[in-house]
């Protein structure tokens, strides 16, 4: 029996964050047939947008209350502590990544992959690579949303300070910054080729700040506009426009016949293209409209696994990346048949749910074991944690 969710918590956040964590895991298992089910095939945005937005939302909600009640310094300290935890998680995953690369590079000499051996060039100078990785200048594929999260959290205290006083002005700054960064091609550079971050933090900050703005009451303020029939119709239209376009991209025989003016794909993910951003916002508006705060299914048994994963998002994200490495290992060492892809995908999700359930169970035990329940000023304010 899975533990029940605490009362009064906005389960939609956990539910959709859990869903995005499942999708991120499925998309990260290389050439996995089950990834057909994930959101990225049916629209412009993918699970990364959901993850960043909800992270911004909960960060503002939780640390906003801390900052309001206990002051800027305590609030900032909490946020930086969280950034540090994410950094440690990132380093943890890095170790697994390096271990797998080291294993492959020392056993691998199949001439079929001579060109791909280039990836091992990075490890000619392990001392340099390790240092560069620790200062976030060497980012392996698949973990790069964590460095983004670290960067966003590190600079969040002043943003949150301003947002508690001038939410709309902060949002405006963020929008302006997004456009300036895009116009001037700002991005952080990486070792060793002076290429840039896959998730450009100067662009993706916008989605995080929009999330934060919504988390501090912005969503309520614009609710009358968002729920108006023309806006809802517009959102539906946009999703209806995006879905076949994105799907056609999977079938060259269809997209090959498309007129040139419809050739807007592929969309820029690094710089968070406007098409992607608006696709996510339309999706979010519809979810808020059709899934009320107290929707029944959120408390049903089949929603529990997702909500449990969403409650422990950092841990489950890391577990997901680790599991995707392991799934890849199984697929290359044992079998890559489609049935195996389905099996490792299901096993991975089952493991994510089990670990999340154990963590919730343990947290409950700890809490009952003498410690008082978290007060309104603690991280567990109204049951929402920033994890």
């Amino acid at each position: 029996m899975l533990p029940a969710p605490p009362a009064g918590r906005d389960l939609r956040l956990d539910f959709f964050r859990g869903l995005s964590l499942w999708f991120i895991f499925l998309d990260h298992v290389p050439s996995n047939i089950v990834a057909w089910f994930t959101v990225r095939n049916y629209g412009f945005c993918d699970a990364s947008e959901v993850f960043v937005f909800i992270s911004g939302y909960t960060a503002a909600f939780v640390y906003g209350h801390v900052m309001k009640e206990r002051g800027f310094v305590i609030g900032a300290a909490r946020i930086l502590k969280r950034a540090w935890q994410i950094y440690v998680a990132f380093v943890f995953l890095l170790v697994f990544y390096f271990a797998e690369i080291a294993y492959v590079s020392s056993h691998f000499s199949n001439p079929l992959y001579t060109e791909e051996f280039g990836i091992f060039d990075f490890f000619q100078k392990p001392d340099v690579v390790l240092i560069e990785a620790l200062i976030l200048r060497f980012l392996p594929a698949n973990v790069d949303v964590l460095p983004l999260y670290i960067a966003l959290m590190t600079f969040f205290p002043p943003v949150l300070w301003l947002m508690l006083r001038q939410p709309n002005l902060t949002l405006l700054f963020s929008v302006v910054f997004y456009f300036v960064a895009k116009t001037l091609d700002w991005n952080l550079m990486l070792y060793p080729y002076d290429h840039s971050w896959f998730f450009n933090p100067f662009a993706w900050q916008l989605l995080f700040v929009i999330g934060a703005w919504c988390g501090l009451g912005g969503a309520r303020r614009v609710a009358p506009i968002l729920n108006s029939p023309p806006v809802i119709a517009l959102c539906v239209l946009y999703l209806v426009f995006a879905a076949p376009l994105q799907l056609s991209w999977l079938f060259p025989s269809v997209s090959g016949r498309m007129p040139g003016w419809l050739m807007i794909l592929p969309l820029d993910k690094t710089g968070l293209s406007g098409w992607r951003l608006f696709h996510f916002l339309a999706l979010a508006a519809l979810v808020i409209y059709y899934v009320p705060f107290d929707a029944k299914f959120l408390r049903s048994n089949w929603a529990r696994p997702l909500i449990l994963c969403g409650e422990h998002s950092l841990e489950i994200f890391c577990l997901g990346v680790f599991l995707s490495f392991s799934a890849h290992f199984v697929l290359t060492e044992i079998s890559s048949l489609i049935a195996m892809q389905v099996a490792v995908s299901l096993a991975g999700i089952a493991l994510m749910v089990t670990v999340a359930a154990l963590m919730t169970w343990y947290k409950d035990i700890e809490r009952r074991g003498g410690k008082p329940p978290p007060s309104a000023t603690q991280e567990g304010y109204r049951g929402v944690t920033a994890s």
Binding site: I101, P111, F251, P252, L265, P266
Partner: protein, 245 residues
């Protein structure tokens, strides 16, 4: 819940059905079909009875024991010679080891004047994916390079990264292939999706692509790739060869 189980059983059904003969080059048509045309190739074969092809790639040359292995440009040439009797077919493999698109683009004018190809088969995207170059910028550079080749009198076929199961998690070629597809559609040139083709072979058991050491798969895979590219060239240039398969 019902939806999920229906979907799952569909997937499992597909999984059971997909089984291939060992060492078979066969792939479903949708993996190799193209709507683009190669008009310069067609003209050169029909009018001048010659076909000058350059295969351009950033792959390093094979070394040691592997250096005697034959690669797909070799097989492409022998396939085309067999099919186009009476046509003087040359395939020249131009390797620019570990160079990115920006470095290769600089050399294109020289390549055009020295070799005067009517067809450039360009294998690209792997080095860029390994180095994490901005996919959007890659797409723009590829677009202008393809335009330069076309203006220089050559048709172009793009080839994306291969399916390399052991290094698949280390870098993501997806965004680069997507940009190649965008270029192939806006410039109306064929894209040979080597990744999907090889993935199909791996998943159906036609070839074991996971071997750590040289197990003889190299030449078998390259022979199949050479043959499939020859098919693609014949079709896109509307050529009917002496040998029909």
């Amino acid at each position: 819940m019902r939806m999920l189980s229906v979907a799952l059983s569909l997937v499992l059904l597909a999984a059971g059905a997909a089984r291939a003969e060992p060492n078979s080059c066969d792939v479903p048509d949708n993996l190799v079909e193209t709507f683009a045309r190669l008009p310069r190739v067609g003209l050169s074969v029909k009018r001048d009875h010659k076909l000058e092809i350059v295969v351009l790639s950033a792959a390093p040359k094979l070394s040691g024991e592997a250096s005697s292995l034959k690669s797909y440009p070799y097989y492409l040439e022998s396939e085309l010679r067999e099919r186009l009797k009476g046509t003087d077919v040359h395939v020249f493999a131009q390797s620019e080891p570990r160079k990115t698109i920006l470095e290769i683009a600089r050399d294109l004018p020289r390549l055009l004047s020295e070799r005067q190809p009517v067809l450039v088969i360009w294998q690209t995207g792997t080095v860029e994916a390994m180095r994490g170059i901005d996919p959007d910028g890659y797409g723009r550079a590829l677009d202008s390079s393809v335009a330069a080749l076309q203006n220089g009198g050559a048709d172009v076929v793009l080839i994306n990264q291969q399916f390399s199961p052991r290094t698949d998690f280390m870098f993501d070629g997806g965004p680069y292939t997507e940009n190649m597809r965008w270029v192939s559609q806006t410039r109306d040139i064929p894209l040979f999706n080597r990744y999907e083709v090889m993935k199909y072979w791996g998943e159906t058991g036609a070839f074991d692509l996971t071997a750590l050491k040289n197990d003889g798969t190299y030449e078998k895979v390259h022979r199949c790739i050479g043959r499939l590219i020859a098919d693609l060239v014949m079709r896109a240039a509307s050529l009917s060869g002496n040998v029909e398969r």
